[in-house]
């Protein structure tokens, strides 16, 4: 029996035997008080029934493009259990342009050998002739308002170059599902999670958290995010525990919903990106109810660098509802290793190191897209079992303690390279080590994450690729193509980053022209990328800083923007 079959068999048996406890609750509007509830046995049967409605070859990849719903959770699980390989795609926000979104989607999904795409009926109808593989519609409860944002017209885009023979759509015999680590408009980079990778992750993370069947995870994190899929959905399923799932959009507008369900479900774990700690603290005074939060063993800060201020404010703001300082924890994680690499020690306050005590190479820090600007760096905890981390300097040598460099990781749950039509791309792996692109240091075996080498921004826990933003801005009439820089600017209020864009104009523009260009940039970025830039600066020719090699340095342009434009109130 393959490790995949063994994993599915064990999961199936565990769920079937668990016919008393609600293992999954999915909170969906408009009735936020009565979630869809499943015990182990009903989850198993409904998940397999739903998945069996979609006929695809064994081990075929099935992409799921659905809004937050019970059906999405059922189908993701059911497809795994019935031998398929699901991958959950991000559902668009209501602010993207539906037609452009559909056209982008066709190109985004073009490099993946896929057997089937499942989405809402109207979108399925629009896409079915544009994609070179079958598209199926699935009507979900209360889903019509999501589907109606799309026009009733076929997408005119067609994929011209798509090479896939039927045998190519199988990533590996042990593959369970896909996670994506891709840009908003660029091609999706798929990470294949296999049964050995997943069990290695659950073994090491489960041990670090002493995660047993009595745990309950309360989450608003979507299934297309590794934190939502692995920590908040699959880990409780695997351990016979339970989870409560709230929609991300519903939580953003009503953060109190999470605390209500922590209280109601006596939740014991809650993973959140850093900004959510700040955001919840700031909403504390305006919350309507009063909640008991002392059941939570760990509020785990993950997916953005940990800010001391965010975690301190959170512990203080909710102390009277039972949040203990020692319950605020941290983890460093990424989809490439299934999920967690480190975990802080439970029931101990997070460690920190003064910023001044850390040695940072000049060349290293000058190429950083951003870094934490607090006085102290907060630990993300120690490596999980069977996980190695090393810090590598610019010259390729391993750094000593408290000396910052690029974080490399080697673990049993590490991926085999990004996967696509050409198979696995192994170039990012060297001797089993993955260069993460993150910048940090080690002290007493604790890992501290400072920021990123790669220019990726993290806005509210979501990765935004500046290349995607710049490609969109370059199409704006009046903007000098190729002379655009997108980068992150610290949002101190929420402990995250905001998107900033600087765009040069072709000719000297008057105020009215600049204002028109700025409006067009804002609108285009929002409708194409799905995120509104906080700052847009339309600047005259020769403003953008380029290196002697003619390359735009986002870091240097960011520094100039902060000094000249933002300081001047631009």
């Amino acid at each position: 029996m393959s490790s995949r079959s063994e994993l599915c068999q064990r999961l199936r048996e565990g769920l079937a035997a668990n016919d008393k406890k609600a293992v999954l609750q999915v909170v969906v509007g408009p009735d936020f008080h009565n979630p869809a509830e499943f015990n182990g046995a009903s989850l198993l049967s409904e998940a397999e029934n739903l998945a069996s409605r979609f006929r695809t070859p064994e081990r075929g990849v099935v992409l799921l493009l659905l809004p937050h719903s019970a059906e999405l959770f059922l189908l993701q699980l059911g497809l795994v259990l019935t031998g398929r390989i699901p991958g959950v795609l991000a559902w668009p926000t209501s602010r993207v342009d539906p037609e452009k979104y559909q056209r982008n989607l066709v190109h985004q999904l073009g490099n993946l050998p896929v057997g089937l795409l499942v989405t809402l009926p109207r979108l399925a109808g629009n896409l079915e002739r544009a994609l070179p593989y079958p598209v199926a519609g699935l009507a979900i409860e209360n889903g019509s308002s999501f589907d109606e944002i799309f026009p009733t017209a076929e997408v005119s885009e067609r994929l011209e170059k798509y090479h896939m023979s039927p045998g190519e759509s199988h990533p590996s015999d042990d593959a369970l599902f896909l996670q994506f680590s891709g840009g908003t408009t660029g091609a999706q980079k798929a990470i294949v999670v296999t049964a050995p990778m997943l069990t290695a992750q659950f073994d090491s993370l489960g041990r670090a958290l002493q995660f047993g069947e009595k745990e309950c995870v309360a989450s608003w994190l979507p299934l297309y995010h590794d934190m939502g899929l692995i920590a908040c959905y699959w880990m409780p399923l695997w351990r016979g525990a339970s989870s409560i799932q709230i929609g991300a959009n519903d939580w953003v507008m009503n953060p109190e919903l999470l605390l209500r369900y922590v209280d109601r479900g006596k939740a014991t774990f809650c993973w959140l990106p850093n900004f959510a700690f700040s955001y919840l603290s700031q909403r504390r005074e305006l919350m309507q109810g009063s909640y008991r939060l002392d059941t939570v063993r760990a509020w785990i800060n993950c997916s953005e660098p940990v800010r001391a201020r965010s975690v301190t404010e959170f512990a203080r703001a909710f102390e009277d509802w039972g949040v203990r300082k020692e319950s605020v924890q941290a983890s460093y994680a990424m989809a490439e290793t299934v999920f967690a690499i480190t975990q802080s020690r439970l029931d101990r306050e997070l460690l920190s190191v003064p910023r001044a005590a850390v040695q940072r190479g000049k060349q290293n820090s000058s190429s950083l897209a951003f870094d934490v600007i607090d006085d102290v760096y907060v630990s993300s905890g120690r490596m999980l079992a069977d996980t190695e981390v090393k810090i590598v300097g610019q010259d390729g040598s391993v750094c000593r303690e408290a000396c910052a460099g690029e974080i490399y990781v080697r673990t049993a749950s590490l991926f085999s390279g990004y996967w696509g039509a050409q198979g696995f791309q192994e170039h990012s792996l060297k001797d089993g080590w993955h260069a993460t692109g993150d910048y940090g240091f080690l002290v007493n075996a604790d890992l501290y994450v400072i920021g990123r080498f790669k220019d990726i921004l993290i806005v509210g826990g979501n990765n935004i690729f500046p290349e995607d933003v710049e490609a969109v801005v370059n199409t704006v009439e009046g903007v000098y193509p190729g002379r655009v820089a997108a980068f992150g600017v610290e949002d101190k209020d929420y402990g995250t980053q905001s998107l900033a864009i600087v765009a040069e104009t072709k000719v000297d523009q008057n105020e009215e022209d600049s204002s028109r260009i700025e409006s067009t940039i804002r609108k285009l970025v929002l409708t194409n990328i799905g995120i509104a830039p906080r700052y847009v600066a339309v600047v005259p020719q020769r403003w953008i800083v380029k290196s002697t090699a003619g390359k735009i340095s986002r870091r240097e342009n960011r520094d100039r923007f902060l000094k000249e434009e933002l300081a001047a109130g631009g």
Binding site: S94, N254, T496, P533
Partner: protein, 84 residues
């Protein structure tokens, strides 16, 4: 006491201007134009609550409910509650 319509309108203009650092016309779209993002909508809600001494219950609201001055006024009329 619940603020009157004019007070809400003035607060909406002031909050939107404060947040964007620009003078905001009543017809200016804030969210759908990309002028403010989701997190800024929450800052906008906080500003409105402080200026009007009200509580806005965001349950069932979407960022688009704050897309321009008229919509902000309508939304507050619908869901804003005075702080006792």
């Amino acid at each position: 006491m619940r603020p009157d319509l004019e007070a809400i309108r003035n607060a909406a203009r002031a909050a939107a201007s404060e947040l964007t650092g620009k003078s905001i016309k009543d017809s200016q779209k804030l969210v759908s134009s990309g002028l403010i993002d989701s997190l800024a909508v929450l800052k906008l809600i906080s500003l409105l609550e402080r200026k009007l001494n009200i509580v806005i219950r965001p349950e069932m609201l979407q960022p688009e409910d704050f897309d321009d001055v008229a919509l902000i006024v309508e939304t507050i009329e619908r869901v804003g509650k005075s702080v006792k």
